[in-house]
Symmetry: C2
Subunit: 203 residues, 2 copies
């Protein structure tokens, strides 16, 4: 149910078409909640059917129309309800760590390749989130500028600070994964050196 609430939150900045929403989604929500665009359009229609957003059709060119969605009062109430809801934590499901538990069934080269992939992925994530923290701190995203333009000034600190806190937390988490992968590579080196020493002692 997170996608529908993320869409409602995006629409608090300004009314948007499905196309605008998808674009904004990719440079904000998607950093923490991945969803393909193909899920966004059906979700918008469901939100409209339940009265949480309203849509206005305006002509685009001479043939087509475009639909612009706005959040309704009911939509704002539903957004607040969701934010105030304490959700149970998701069950642990970590495929990378599960597999690493069993690296002894593969080769040292495999363990190394796996840790290297983990390292590269989390370095990219860390960088992406660092850039987003810097953008948020400078109010340098279209969405945040529009939100701040319509909200009373005394609310600006909270609006920015919660988002910065989230992305700083993700940067830290990525940093831990990067470190874990580096230590994993050092572990493989150690295990392989011991194995090489054992084999040459056996010769």
């Amino acid at each position: 149910m997170s996608l529908r609430h993320a869409l409602l939150a995006l629409l608090t900045a300004r009314p948007m078409t499905g196309y605008d929403l998808a674009k904004q989604f990719d440079v904000s929500v998607a950093y923490v909640w991945h969803a393909p665009h193909s899920q966004i359009y059906p979700e918008l229609r469901k939100l409209e059917a339940s009265g949480l957003v309203s849509a206005e059709s305006t002509p685009r060119g001479s043939q087509a129309t475009k639909r612009t969605y706005s959040i309704t009062e009911e939509g704002r109430a539903e957004l607040r309800r969701w934010v105030e809801e304490v959700a149970p934590p998701l069950p642990e499901r970590d495929a990378a760590h599960l597999k690493a538990t069993y690296y002894e069934f593969g080769s040292f080269a495999n363990a190394r390749r796996q840790f290297e992939g983990h390292l590269a992925y989390h370095q990219r994530q860390q960088l992406k989130w660092q850039i987003h923290v810097a953008q948020l701190e400078k109010h340098d995203t279209d969405l945040l500028r529009r939100r701040l333009a319509i909200e009373p000034e005394h609310t600006h600190d909270a609006i920015v600070a919660y988002k910065v806190h989230v992305y700083r937390g993700l940067v830290e988490r990525a940093r831990v994964e990067v470190e874990w992968a580096r230590e994993g590579l050092a572990l493989v080196d150690r295990l392989e050196a011991a194995e090489t020493a054992r084999r040459s002692a056996g010769d």
Copy 2:
């Protein structure tokens, strides 16, 4: 597909009934990959149908029989194949952090309650994983003792070290979440104090 491979890995320690497997699952794999017991039994039957495990029926009491599963050579090959497969990272889907991005739509009391829940949960996880690291380091789990009893001694270091590395990584990750929640609580205090000051200045 992680559950089936985790079951294969468990069976490398010794042949087990479905009941034994479910019990062992809860004190090993489940720390990193949650699955309800109701998924384990059908998965075992699928593994048997594909020849990755074999089952032997023996009488239990005068009426019932119990089925004991063993990993086959094909099962060992499939386990190695999975360990050597580089899986793409799962898309980011972090419901807690997504919601925290929007805490300004709720009250300070709500933000505090959410961070407190996050803190308590990750403190429990951290403790659970710390205990498991200590168990693994002392070879103090039934599964690990049985694995080590049947594997050549020169492989013991890798068998233990990969597992210890995984659970140490999870301890570190939980530590980051605990810290993030604590800093979140400090942020709420700061925002609420500023809001209180603003209101009394307005009086």
